[in-house]
Each structure stands twice: as structure tokens, then as C-alpha cells.
Subunit: 434 residues, 2 copies
Amino acid sequence: MRAYDIIYKKREGQNLNKDELEFLINGYVEGDIPDYQMSAWAMAVYFQGMDAEETANLTMLMAESGDMIDLSPIEGIKVDKHSTGGVGDTTTLVLAPLVASAGIPVAKMSGRGLGHTGGTIDKLESIPSFNTSLARDKFFDNVNQHGIAVVGQTGNLTPADKKLYALRDVTATVESIPLIASSIMSKKLAGGADAIVLDVKVGNGAFMKNFDSAKKLAEAMVAIGKEVGRDTRAYITDMNQPLGNAVGNALEVKEAIKTLKGEGPEDLTELCIELGAGMLQLAGKITDIEEGKKILRENLQNGKALDKFSEMISAQGGNAKVIEDLSLLPIAESTFEVKAEKDGYISEIKALDVGLSAMILGAGRENKESVIDLAAGLEIKKKFAAPVNKGDTLAVLHYNECDNIEEAKEKLLRAFTITEEKKDKNQLIYEIIK
Amino acid sequence: MRAYDIIYKKREGQNLNKDELEFLINGYVEGDIPDYQMSAWAMAVYFQGMDAEETANLTMLMAESGDMIDLSPIEGIKVDKHSTGGVGDTTTLVLAPLVASAGIPVAKMSGRGLGHTGGTIDKLESIPSFNTSLARDKFFDNVNQHGIAVVGQTGNLTPADKKLYALRDVTATVESIPLIASSIMSKKLAGGADAIVLDVKVGNGAFMKNFDSAKKLAEAMVAIGKEVGRDTRAYITDMNQPLGNAVGNALEVKEAIKTLKGEGPEDLTELCIELGAGMLQLAGKITDIEEGKKILRENLQNGKALDKFSEMISAQGGNAKVIEDLSLLPIAESTFEVKAEKDGYISEIKALDVGLSAMILGAGRENKESVIDLAAGLEIKKKFAAPVNKGDTLAVLHYNECDNIEEAKEKLLRAFTITEEKKDKNQLIYEIIK
């Protein structure tokens, strides 16, 4: 077998069989197949695509290229959740304790933020003393004992995906649906999930800018799940404005706590209820989705969800007093209110620019080596369709030292469009693919 | 400027401007742009193509990446000729002395053979003592004095093309019309030609298997010529059977001598007359193409073309007596006659298999390091549409030591298809693009 023939076959639009993909992926990880053949193959895939079977085979090969985490020491059906990334996406911080409070085990491995998108691990680290790097046994023990643990990724997970993604990133071959789908799903499979809930974000602040491509990605991932025997459900959700009001690590933890108290922003709360009910159903906890939503809504009101968050924080060495006393979270020295320049209605909030503004303030990493400021970020005060008067506060910036504060202010101000006519809100959840 | 953005732009089907191509090509030659970005770009070009201006810019950049030969010390309009390569393509050996005999200067740099296609330099080296590596001054002197010189490529010609072609060869990105066109034309431009005649071969023994792709390649090269101010004409010619009867180095020299005496195979003779007349016209020697053909036919009959070949051989240190005494050429120890297994008509000769059979006999190189046997090769005795009886000789193999003689015999026998019905011959010249 030769890499040349595999590239040629894909270039000609033919399907690659499992042996061919195995030769390619294993050869690439082992260094027998050079980057220049792999990037040519990736570009051929960009143009010719891959069918469901090919994509599933690629996914399994990438998952199996490194450690495969065995979650069987944890009882029950383990449902993982993944978001394709957005701005102010506080979901996991709320969702993990919420579904754990309903009795399904949450053994979650999360990542760090990059660019305008945040990462759950960074957010949790704004809780004093919180430990995101538990040893494997301790991780399992915590889940068995408390029903929940959220940790950073450890071990040698999906090295094939890591190597291939780094290559795609510099060869303009990222934007391929089957390659994105297999990259995401390979990590979920290596992470040991029995079932998977996917939050595929679409809009100006998401990786997928339009509904059609988001739907294709959702369908591709659900198809992979089907092929490899993991019950998978994808929610296509709106990211045309930041989710919730907070963008930034400590600010999002604060918002998560409010939401777990039942006092959170409407969109964030609704999304967590929806995704959470889906997770309960996949875990076999409920059959009727409305029943699931009811349980979760109750747990936000009766304090069970918040208690579970508190329990998790303590179990991972963090100071659970933050829940009562939000001032224990990192707080920025300075704030600045961005104000409306005219009357009208908010008709657009460019989520990407909001995310970039937060990154400039110090909340996000420009590259993997950047150090982030956990206190930095911003709070949106007027969301889509809200009426505003000139001088109203649109958002509050939080920052410590910041070299480009003027750029951050300007970018945030320009992220808002105010028009005389009121526009209809986007749906929060466009479609569910199962 | 970043290579990433250039790849992305091409992937999206946009045209690259000259600055972008310059950044890419110069960066690649200098080692600043890695192979993996270049191969992804090449695959994007495979799918998205390049327009005439892009292709011309790429061609000039590759030509200018190394030495640019200045043929101005040679008087007159220098017309170069290039064939895209076929089996038994003896054309240059005949054409060079033929057009020189009509008074236009021939300053030709040729290559060596690879795989099933032969190279003029190898063929000439089967003439005892013939020197194909003249110094630049001597090369020019010979052309000025004798009107002709044929030498191997020297100097650092088109390093960008060399590097890019080697990469394309292992990344399944060779078969892109604009990349093939710019590769060929960059070499011609670096070689200093004022005008160019292209022989674009099409058929089972050619690089281009069908007329449409051959025509596209021809049009792309003529368009480059137009963009860069070199009068260029492309002949789309048949390569569904070997050209002439001989395949192999000394055997083709023998055939060339016969053809220059006016006793050569009909197809080879006709092609040389056609291409030669085109060269005379581009050189401004004639206006009416029929007049050119008449002159060339006369020079085959009156001995002028043969004399010119003799003069060239002597001027390049070779033994011109070969012209009178063909036994001075290398002769193989053994011959074998491949015979027809049934009666009928030749309805197909797979030129590629004929070329591969000759390669197995020792006439061609499997890779650049292979040593070739100048005496080895084969002679076709029955060409397309010829009637045959069982037992007739289809071809004669010539070989010295050969490890796989049975494979060569079998491949050659299977290259011939004999059917009861007689099929119509293909045209020799399908179309002329100018």
C-alpha cells in the first residue's frame, strides 16, 4: 500500500476502506507518512468529502491512536456533552451539576480556551484552590461518590487527531465537515462516553456560520455515533449573540452560580434544561423529555443543582464558600461601561467581536502560550431585541492591566447594532438531530 | 502575507495575484514555505484550477527561479519544440536537422528518458563519441556555425519547477492542467526560446489519455505563450500506438537516419513535416504552411536534412560514419520475434505496454538512477489496421542481458489486439491550437 494511491483515490472521489485509512493514520502517527502527503490528502477530503462509513472508520482509528479511557469503574450510562464552541458558553458549568443532581453520573474531561472561545477548565480554575487535574483513580472515585467530577484532559488522548489538526490548521483544511466531525467524535470516544450530547453552535460567534453547514456537521457526528454504537444527539443552537450575559472566566462562574440558583439568564437556563433533559434521556433516566425538563427545573429551584456544584467544588479541593460569597472569586480592578450612542432596539450583537473584545481584556488566549486573566471579561447588559435609550449601558468591561483597552471598548461598542425597528429574536434551539 | 491565506484563497476558488504567487514560489524555493503547505496548495489548484493570467505568472516565476538562458548570441528567431512524451517518439532526432536544413537555427536542450518514455539525449548518446554536454559558448558557436546543436540541460534551470514537480509526483497532484502547462512552459522560457511548437500527445501511450484533456493542456500552454509574448503553437497528435516503428535508443537513431533519407515510417515522417513547417512559419521563414512542408519534403529527398544531421554529429564530436554504416551503432546480442496468434487486423496497440516492454528489455529507466542499455528496444512490424496472419511477426525484441525477458515478451504480445474486423486508423494530427 502507498500513501500516494490513497491520496489519488480520494482525489478521484472514491471511498477509502478501513485498511487504507488505517495505513494512512497509523503511518502518519508513526512518522512513516510525511506531512506533505497528509495535507494533500486532507485537501482532497475537503473537496471530495467522506461517507458515513469512512468518517466512522477515521474516527475510530484516531480514537484508538492513543489512550482509550475505560469508564466502566463508574456505574451507569456515562453521557458526555460537547459544545463546538461559542462566546460566553457557560453551559458545562451549569449542566454538569444540574444533571448530576438528577442522578446521572458526570465524568467530564474538558479543555482550555483558545482565541475568542473560553474553556471550562480555565473557568473552574477561577474558583480558589479548585483542582482540575485529578489522578485517574481519584477522578473515578469522585464520580462514584459524588456523582460528578470535571477535570482537564490527561494522558495521550487521540495523538492522531492532535497531529492532523495541527497540520490542517496551517494548510487551510480545517473546514471539512467529515474531518471536523471525526476530530470531535474521536476525542469523545477516547474519553470513554457511552452516549453523547452535542451542542452544535451556529451563527456569527460560532465556528459554523450558517445553519446548513451546522446541520451537516450535526448529521455527520450523529452518523458516526450510529456507526460506532454510541447513542448520539446533536442540538443545533444559536450563537448569533453571546449565550447568557457573562464572558470571561470568573464572571461566567458567577453567572453559573446564579443560574444554578434559578436566577440565571433565560437563554442559558433554557439551553441547560434542554441539553440536560437530552442527557437524562440518553442515560435511560427518563423516557419522556418533558418529564426530564420538569425534574431539572425543580432542581434549579429546590437548591439540589447548586448543592451538587458545591459538593463538586469541595470534592475537588476548591473553596465552596464562593457559592455564598461571590467576592471570593477573582475581581478585576477596573470596570468601564460601554454606552448606547442612540435610541432604538438591539438588532445585532456580533458575538465574535464580543469574544475578541474579552480576549483583548485578558480573558482569552491569543495562542496556547498566552497567560489569561481569570478576573477579566465583560457583562452584556442589553441582549438581542432589547429596547435602549442613548446613554444606556450596553455592557460592562472588567479588566486589570490592559494595553489595548481602547481597542476592546471600540470593538465591543461596534459589536452592537441599534436600529429603529425591533427585530424578531432568533430561536435558541433550531433543530435536534438524532 | 501568509502561505495559509494563499492556500485558503485558492481553495475558495479565487485567483491569486502575482505578489501572492511570488511569495509562494520564492518562499518555497528558499525553504521558508514547507512542503506540506505547498502540497495542500497544489491539491487546491487541482480542484479549483488557475486562469490564464495566474498560470502565466506562475510560469514566469518558475522560469525566473533559476538561470535564464540568453540565446541572443544566436542570430534569428529561435523556435523550440517540446513533446509531452510518448513511446518511440523519435521526432526531435529527425526534426532538428530537418528544420536546420531549411535555414532556421536550432539551439535545442533536451532531456533524458524516464519510465516508458524515451529522451533525446539518451538516444543521441548511442552515436559513438557524440558529446551532449557542450559548454554554453561552444553550444552557441555550433548553432551559429552549423545552424544546429542539441545538448543536455545544464545549469540551474527552473529549480522551483523541479522542487514542485517532485512534490506533486508523490502527492497525486501531477494531473492538473495549469500545473502541467506552467511546468512545461517554464522550462521553455528559461531555455530562452522566442517561439515554441508543442507536440501534445494524446492516447493510451501518452500522459493525456483523452482528447479533451489534451486540448485543455494545449490551450493552457498557448495561452501562457500569449501572456508572456512567445508565439506558441500546439499540435494535438495521436499516441494510441507508438510513433514510427522503433522503440529504444540506438534503434530510434537508426530509424531517424532512415527517415532523414526519406525512407522512414509514414507517421513519423508526416509528423516531422507538419511540426517542422510550423516551426518554419513561427521563425518567419515562410508564410504559407504548405510552402514549408514542400521545402521540408524536398530536403528529405535531396539529402540536405541528412547532411545537416551528419554535420551536427561531427560538430559534437560524434562519428558521422554511422549514417552510412548503421552497424556502428550499438547492437543487441539477442533478438526475439513476437508472433501473431491468430489471423485478423491489428485493432489496438497499447503504446504504454510497448513502452514498458522496451523498458524491461533495458531501453528505459525505472528510476533516475537506473542504467539503460542503448542497444535494447524493439521494432514494431505491424502497425494499427495492418492485416496479419497467424505466425506473422508483430514485433522484434532486441536485448542483451535481461532478467525478465518472458515478461517483456508477454507484455508486448498482449499489447496487440487482433480482431476480425478492420478498424479505421486514428488521425495523426487531431487539432492545431494557436
